[in-house]
Every structure is written in structure tokens, then in C-alpha cells.
């Protein structure tokens, strides 16, 4: 066969491959389009949340929350059918990113598990109560990581990166660092639906774009908020054993039953990365704030600021995935540590001859 003919054959092969990819793209696009139009099966928490906010398609929207809190809101422009579906899908993503509660599995969550390295991570671990936490009397809680408050902060200056971050890029940071994964493309439905849900929350809560609300982010606890005894991870380990280990486990590897996370991992492969703002050594005010505000469930506020800082410090010393900026060698080292350290620690625990406490009996991992 002449080289001329071989050249043409090569072109035909390349063209065939490209045509196959084009056909695949058409098929995938059609599948996405079908899912965008399909009715959404809400998770239990999402159904409660969205019903409480009176989400339905129509020409006007009036927030029940604002009516209840005494503000008489103007009727806002309502939501179309496709907007409602986007908001519902966004809420589902926040509550159940990996699609364990979805009948259709991963496609129903836009394959969001693709962007997360762990198998149990989901947004609601940090953005509690589907990104909109209220106290017993139904009031919003300051520093509760509210997604609506986060959306109205869109395109604001981010002091950690020094960038003007759109809400989409901020979400990507969550995917990269807090869930130790990969960022979805800015045009991905994952990002768009979560944005739709966050925007809906801000409207339902009567938040105005460009304002900063105390519910946004986490109420930080700097060293100046303590009595300046200095942060101490040994003290932190002690407090962790007493107050946290019962749920999160002695090694902080979390508690997962039947694929549903009951208590998220605070260390190990399922946890946030070294680059995450939740990591004490990356940003030393956020994790203490989160602990003091939200932990332990049912007894919030029982830990003093210094204890929160100590626990956060202790958690940062446990092995966890490296951030993507740290490169492959650091990642390899952290992977090794995550394999080696838990059995070593478990062995070290047995050496002391401590009597088994109730905390050990409860931790399943």
C-alpha cells in the first residue's frame, strides 16, 4: 500500500472517530435536555424547606418567611416551570450531592460525584439545614454559612484569594478544597442549579444584592477572642475525645451507614483538603467558628472559644488529602499518611491500657 493511500486511510479513521464523538455529544446533550425537563423528586429535607418557602411556578412570588417575620414584602416576579425545577435540583444537590437518595442515580445529580474525590462528601455537611439554618424560633443564625447570604455577596472581594469572586468561582473553590475534588466547568448544570437555589433563598429571605449579611460565611473566632492561652493541639485532642469522638470517631474518620453520612469525616480521604479554609493551618479562624456555632448538635455554644480553637488545631494535625496546589509529591505523602496513621494510632491507643470508654464503643470506623 502506498503511503498516499495510508495517509487517506488515516484521515478517514480520524474523521470516523470525530464523527463518533459528535454522535456521542448529540446523545449526551439530548440526555441532559431530557433531565432538565423532567420533574424533580425532592429529598425529604428539600421538600420541607421549599414547601416552607412556598416555591411554585407562577407570575408572582411572595415569601412566607417574610410575611411571618412581619415584613410585608412586595410581590416579586414569579418563577417559571424550568426555574422551579432548577431550584429544586439545586436544593437536591446541596442535600445529597452524591445522589444516594436519587432514584435515577448519578445522572439525576448531574454526575456531581465526578467532582468529589470522597464517596460521602456533600454540601450540607458545612452548609447545614440545606444551606439555610434557623434556630428553634425560626430565626436565621449569624455565621451559619447561609447560601442565600452568600449569593448576594456575589462578585465581592474575597479576602482569602484577593480576587473578585463570582458565585460560580466560589462554588468551584468548594469543590476543589472543601470536598477535595475537581471543579466543574462554569457552564455546568451543577453550578447553575446551585446558583439558582442560592438565589431563590436570598429572595425568600429578603436579602438585597451587594449587601453583607451576618448569616454569610462563618462567624470567625480569632485568637483575640480567647483568653490568649495559646492554641494547643494536645489539649484539643483531649477535648475532642470527650466531646466529639462519640460521633465523628476517635480518628475523626466519620460515621457512614448504608452510604448515608450520619457524621461527616473530619480527617482522612473523605475529608476536606489541606488547602481548604476549614483546615486550621490554612485559615485559623473559620473551623473554630464553625465548631463553636454548630457543635456538638443539641449542645451548641457549650464549648468556649479556646476549646474550639484547640479542637480545630488538633484536627489539622490529622492526615488528610493534599490540596491541588501542593502538587503530586505532597499528595503522595498525604495518601501514605492516611493509610499508615490510623492503624498506628489505633495500636498506640492499645498500649496505654486505657479502659474502653463509651466513645470507643460508639465509633464505627
Amino acid at each position: 500500500m502506498s503511503s498516499r493511500a495510508a495517509g487517506w486511510i488515516r484521515i478517514v479513521v480520524v474523521a470516523a472517530v470525530l464523527a463518533a464523538l459528535y454522535a456521542l455529544a448529540l446523545h449526551k446533550h439530548a440526555e441532559r435536555e431530557r433531565l432538565r425537563d423532567a420533574p424533580v423528586a425532592l429529598t425529604a429535607d428539600c421538600r420541607a424547606k421549599l414547601e416552607a418557602y412556598g416555591l411554585r411556578a407562577g407570575g408572582h412570588y411572595r415569601s412566607p418567611y417574610l410575611q411571618r417575620t412581619g415584613v410585608n414584602p412586595d410581590a416579586r416576579q414569579g418563577y417559571r416551570e424550568q426555574d422551579v425545577r432548577a431550584i429544586q435540583r439545586g436544593c437536591n444537590l446541596i442535600d445529597d450531592l452524591q445522589g444516594y437518595q436519587a432514584k435515577g442515580g448519578a445522572p439525576e445529580r448531574w454526575h456531581a460525584s465526578r467532582f468529589v474525590r470522597g464517596t460521602s462528601t456533600t454540601c450540607v455537611h458545612c452548609h447545614q439545614s440545606v444551606g439555610d439554618k434557623h434556630d428553634g424560633e425560626g430565626r436565621r443564625i449569624p455565621g451559619s454559612n447561609n447560601l442565600g447570604a452568600s449569593w448576594v455577596m456575589a462578585d465581592m472581594y474575597d479576602r482569602f484569594t484577593g480576587l473578585l469572586l463570582p458565585h460560580e468561582l466560589r462554588q468551584m473553590q468548594c469543590f476543589i478544597n472543601s470536598s477535595n475534588g475537581f471543579k466543574p466547568n462554569a457552564a455546568d448544570d451543577v453550578i447553575r442549579d446551585i446558583t439558582a437555589y442560592s438565589r431563590f433563598l436570598s429572595g425568600a429571605l429578603g436579602m438585597k444584592i451587594g449587601n453583607r449579611y451576618p448569616e454569610q460565611g462563618i462567624e470567625e473566632i480569632p485568637a483575640s477572642a480567647t483568653r490568649r492561652r495559646g492554641d494547643d493541639y494536645v489539649r484539643g485532642a483531649h477535648t475532642y475525645r470527650e466531646r466529639c469522638a462519640a460521633c465523628h470517631g476517635l480518628q475523626a474518620l466519620g460515621n457512614v451507614v448504608d452510604g448515608r453520612t450520619r457524621y461527616p469525616a473530619l480527617a482522612g480521604p473523605e475529608s476536606f483538603s489541606l488547602d481548604s479554609r476549614m483546615n486550621f493551618t490554612a485559615v485559623n479562624t473559620i473551623m473554630p467558628g464553625f465548631i463553636c456555632r454548630n457543635m456538638p448538635p443539641g449542645a451548641e455554644g457549650s464549648l468556649d472559644p479556646q476549646q474550639c480553637r484547640d479542637i480545630a488545631y488538633y484536627l489539622s494535625t490529622l492526615p488528610r488529602p493534599a490540596g491541588d496546589r501542593q502538587g503530586p509529591l505532597a499528595a503522595l505523602w498525604q495518601q501514605g499518611m492516611m493509610i499508615v496513621m490510623p492503624p498506628l494510632t489505633r495500636y498506640a491507643e492499645t498500649l496505654g491500657g486505657r479502659p474502653q470508654t463509651h466513645t470507643q464503643a460508639h465509633s464505627s470506623r
Partner: protein
């Protein structure tokens, strides 16, 4: 008078022939330059075009090689993008400032290679497998990297491990890419591929592909409308004139970022110099001439120190364009100079046409160039030897798993280690009492020689050492030979040239005396420098 007239006629004919080469070169360079700047470096298109004008012109003037062609380069543009993505958002004013600073720093690093002679010589120690591994890795990386632009999606703005991102990008293009963009990209790709098979259109294939993609994009604009297709196009260049002065960003606030991009600057400088030195080496051998690679380094360094003040990408040798000049029969620097002039005219008069070129077509061009960089004909020889294959694969994989800087370091270290390994393992053939050593006798190879020597000594107490085919013996080797001779265990066979042999004899005799406990004479000490 006749003689002068003939010379004038000949030079006019040469000028005309080179002008045709220059015209082709300009037409080929233009889409490349735009694609490099916009899709790879994250800079406006005029950066690439000015590199194709001023970069080509400067290197043509400063580099005496006849087939050299400089200008914007794929790898260097990609290195700029990779280095700066974490520092600032692309296409912004800060980003441009940082890019110019990065180029200037790279130029200064290259200047260091001119001033410190051994550094420049070090570049010759980088062997072909490393360079080919880098080039192939970068080629693959370019294909992955342009996926998002090909699918009309926003470019990912944070650097991560390219392979993972490539997979995610492919899935994103398949599932949510802009179908119009994908169609334009595919049309560009297939048209270029077909045009390349037709001999007459061969050198114009990329231009034809871009023209087809642009025509289809214009058709879509006319029927569906740009507001519905949402296809990104290259901005209008009509405001850009002959020269666009620019100043690199150097201020106190930027200092921490500038320090952070220093490794990137070194990578950029090295990537440019590697390619210049390797391309000059290969092309000069092809035309059977010789140009000192230092002159090429000098031309690059000076150009890259000046180009950041003219809003231009850095310059270095371009393999594919040099090949084009060679295959079209270009045989003087006039071809490069005329290409720069033609390009300048095109930018001044064709800016509105350039403005409507769609970005997916540019991404397709980058993909084609990336695929061209993976040339099986260049790679195949490396797989015949296990060592070369290892070095090649190491530098190839490290581009994909580490970054470019890591790849340069890993590849160079491996290449040097292998050349040292090669030298440290002379071929030793023992046959009935004669040990024949082919290679070097020096500190690195001595343990290997000693091992074989002592094993042979156990079998045969009287050994003859044949060092006729040793081309390098260092002081330690001489001392060892002398010691062995002093113990009367061996007899040296030396069938080398008289002068070499006498030197070694004198030296080993003197050392043997010393080993025997005598003091060396003054004469011996004076002759030490001979070794």
C-alpha cells in the same frame, strides 16, 4: 560591468524567490500566532502577531543561520498560560503586565546563558529523547488544553493536574459543549486534515481550515445570529498600529507574585533555548552547514529582552516553520524578513477580516499543531534502546503528571545520569588472559573494571590488560593502573598512537615508582598537566 549586473539580477531573483517563501510563511504563521496568544497564553491576539513580526525580524537579523525562523512558539505560549493562570485572570490588564514581566525575566535568564559560557554549553547535554519527550508531552497537553475552547465552554481558570482536568473537560464538552462551536471546530479540523493530503495545498492547510471554519461561523451568524450561537470571536485588531509599546509590571504590590513566577520564567527561558539549540542543530545538519548555537542563544536572549516592550510573546526557533522554509527552498534570512514585512502589512490592512475568526477554529488549529508535535517518525528511534525509551517516557510522563519545570528538571537529570551511566560501564571482554577494555577508565568506571579484573585474576594470576581502545583515562585510573603494574600482576597492552601511549607509559612508570616508595622527580611533576 556585466559582472555587477549579473550579481544584481541574481540577487533580485533570490529576493523574489525568498519573498514567495516569506509570503507563505506569513500566511502560515498568522493563524498560529493568534491561536498561541489567545488560546494558550491567555493574551490578546496582537501579542502573537507582534511576536510573528518583531520576534521573527530580530532573530533573523541577529541569528546568522540561513534556515532559522523564530517567532511565537507553542510551548512557550503554553508555559506563559500555565505559569500565570493562578496569578491573575487571563486577558486582564494585570495578567498582561505579569506576562510581560515573565517574558522579560525569561529574556534576562537567557542572557545569563550567553554571558556564562558553560551554562550555554550545558544546553548541548540535553539529548534528543528528553526534548522529544517534552515536545510530545506538550503536544498531548495542547490537545487537552484546547478542549474547552473547542467546545465553546469557559476556560478553567485554576491550574490542576492536566490529565484529570483533560478528562473532566472532555466529559464537559460532550455533555454541555456549545454544539455550534463543536461544529465549527470539527469543520476546521477535517478541512485542514484533508487539505494537507492534497499536495498543492499542503502548506496552506491550516489557513484553509481556518477559512472554512470562519465561513461556517459567518453562515451561522447570518442564519441563526451571533446572539444565539454565542460563538466567541477574535477581537477587532484595527486599532493596532505599527508598534504598540508596553511596559512590564514591576511594583511593590506585584513583587510577591513576581517572585512566585520566577521558576516559570526559568522554565520559559529553558524551553525557548532548548528548542532553539535543538532546532539549529537538526536543521543545520540537514543543510550541511554549521552555525554556533551560542549565536542562536544570543539572538533569542536579546530579542526576548526587547519584545516585552513591544507587547509581544517571546520568540524561539519553530521546528515546523523552519521545516517549511527548508522544504520551500528558502535559503537566506531574507525569507524570514519578508515574512515579517508581509505580516505587518496584513495586520495593518486585514484587521477586520481577522476579527471574525471564531475561537473554536483557533482551538482546532492548536489541536492539529499538538498532534503534529507527536511525530512517530521522531519517536520511533528512541524505542530501539531501553535507555533512550526510559528517558523519553520519563520526560513525556512528567509533563503530564508534574509541570513543565518538573519535566525539564526530571528529563535533564535522567539524561545526564544516563550519559554518566554509559560512561561508567566500559565494555570489558575477558579472553584467555587478556582483558580488553573499551571505554573510559575513570573514577566512575573503575569499580566495574576492578570487579571483572579481580574475578579474572582468581582464574589466571597473570593477566594482560588491553587498553588500546580506551579514549579517556583520568588521574585515578592512572594511579590504579600504576598500582596494578607495581604489583607485577598485569602487563599493559597499548596499541594506541605513539604520543598517547608514551604519555601513559611515562605516567604509569612514574606512579609505579611512587608506589614502590620512591620520591617522584621534578620532571614528572611538571608533566602532570599532560593528563
Amino acid at each position: 560591468m556585466n559582472v555587477v549586473g549579473g550579481a544584481v539580477l541574481r540577487s533580485v531573483a533570490a529576493l523574489r524567490a525568498n519573498f514567495v517563501v516569506g509570503l507563505t510563511l506569513a500566511v502560515v504563521t498568522l493563524p498560529q500566532a493568534i491561536a498561541f496568544a489567545t488560546t494558550l497564553a491567555g493574551l490578546p491576539p496582537h501579542f502573537g502577531i507582534y511576536a510573528a513580526i518583531w520576534g521573527v525580524l530580530f532573530t533573523a537579523i541577529l541569528n546568522p543561520s540561513r534556515v532559522f525562523s523564530g517567532g511565537p512558539n507553542t510551548t512557550m505560549s503554553a508555559a506563559i498560560g500555565i505559569t500565570l493562570l493562578p496569578v491573575a485572570p487571563p486577558f486582564g490588564a494585570d495578567y498582561m503586565g505579569y506576562a510581560l514581566t515573565l517574558i522579560l525575566l525569561a529574556g534576562l535568564v537567557q542572557m545569563l546563558f550567553v554571558l556564562v559560557r558553560p551554562l550555554g554549553r550545558m544546553l548541548d547535554l540535553i539529548n534528543e529523547p528528553v526534548i522529544n519527550g517534552l515536545i510530545c508531552g506538550i503536544g498531548l497537553f495542547l490537545i487537552f488544553k484546547s478542549l474547552t475552547s473547542f467546545g465553546g465552554l469557559p476556560i478553567n481558570t485554576q491550574v490542576e493536574w492536566p490529565l484529570w482536568i483533560a478528562w473532566q473537560s472532555l466529559l464537559a464538552v460532550l455533555e454541555l459543549g456549545n454544539m455550534h462551536a463543536i461544529q465549527i471546530g470539527l469543520i476546521t479540523l477535517v478541512t485542514s486534515l484533508v487539505a494537507r493530503r492534497v499536495y498543492v495545498l499542503r502548506n496552506w492547510s491550516i489557513l484553509i481550515g481556518v477559512a472554512a471554519g470562519t465561513a461556517y461561523s459567518q453562515y451561522l451568524n447570518a442564519t441563526i445570529g451571533l446572539q444565539n450561537t454565542l460563538i466567541e470571536q477574535i477581537a477587532n485588531l484595527s486599532r493596532i498600529g505599527l508598534v504598540l509599546p508596553s511596559v512590564p509590571l514591576f511594583n511593590q504590590e506585584a513583587m510577591s507574585d513576581i517572585i512566585a513566577i520566577l521558576p516559570g520564567a526559568i522554565t520559559l527561558a529553558l524551553l525557548g533555548l532548548f528548542q532553539t539549540v535543538a532546532a539549529m542543530r537538526r536543521m543545520n545538519r540537514k543543510i550541511g552547514s554549521y552555525t554556533d548555537s551560542r549565536k542562536g542563544i544570543f539572538a533569542d536572549a536579546v530579542s526576548n529582552c526587547v519584545l516585552p516592550f513591544l507587547s509581544s510573546l517571546p520568540t524561539c526557533a519553530s521546528f515546523n516553520r523552519m521545516w517549511l522554509v527548508y522544504s520551500l527552498g528558502g535559503h537566506s534570512r531574507w525569507s524570514s524578513v519578508s515574512s515579517a514585512i508581509v505580516l505587518l502589512a496584513m495586520v495593518l490592512f486585514l484587521a477586520p477580516v481577522i476579527a471574525i475568526i471564531p475561537m473554536p477554529a483557533m482551538a482546532a488549529v492548536i489541536m492539529l499543531l499538538g498532534a503534529n508535535m507527536i511525530n512517530w517518525e521522531d519517536i520511533r528511534p528512541h524505542f530501539s534502546s531501553r535507555r533512550e525509551a526510559t528517558v523519553f517516557l520519563a520526560s513525556f510522563l512528567s509533563v503530564l503528571f508534574l509541570d513543565l519545570f518538573g519535566a525539564v528538571v526530571a528529563g535533564s537529570v535522567l539524561a545526564i545520569a544516563y550519559s554518566k551511566w554509559e560512561q561508567a560501564h566500559p565494555s570489558i571482554t575477558p579472553e584467555d588472559g587478556v582483558l580488553k577494555i573499551r571505554g573510559n577508565i575513570y573514577y566512575g568506571s573503575l569499580p566495574v573494571i576492578e570487579a571483572t579484573y579481580h574475578r579474572a585474576l582468581e582464574r589466571n594470576p597473570k593477566i594482560r590488560l588491553d587498553i588500546s581502545e580506551c579514549f579517556y583515562i583520568d588521574q585515578e585510573g592512572i594511579r590504579w593502573l600504576a598500582a596494578a603494574k607495581a604489583r607485577q600482576a598485569i602487563e599493559l597492552i597499548d596499541r594506541r598512537k605513539g604520543q598517547d601511549r608514551r604519555r601513559l607509559q611515562r605516567r604509569t612508570a612514574a606512579d609505579a615508582k611512587r608506589m614502590a616508595g620512591r620520591r617522584r622527580s621534578r620532571q614528572d611533576r611538571r608533566q602532570r598537566h599532560l593528563f
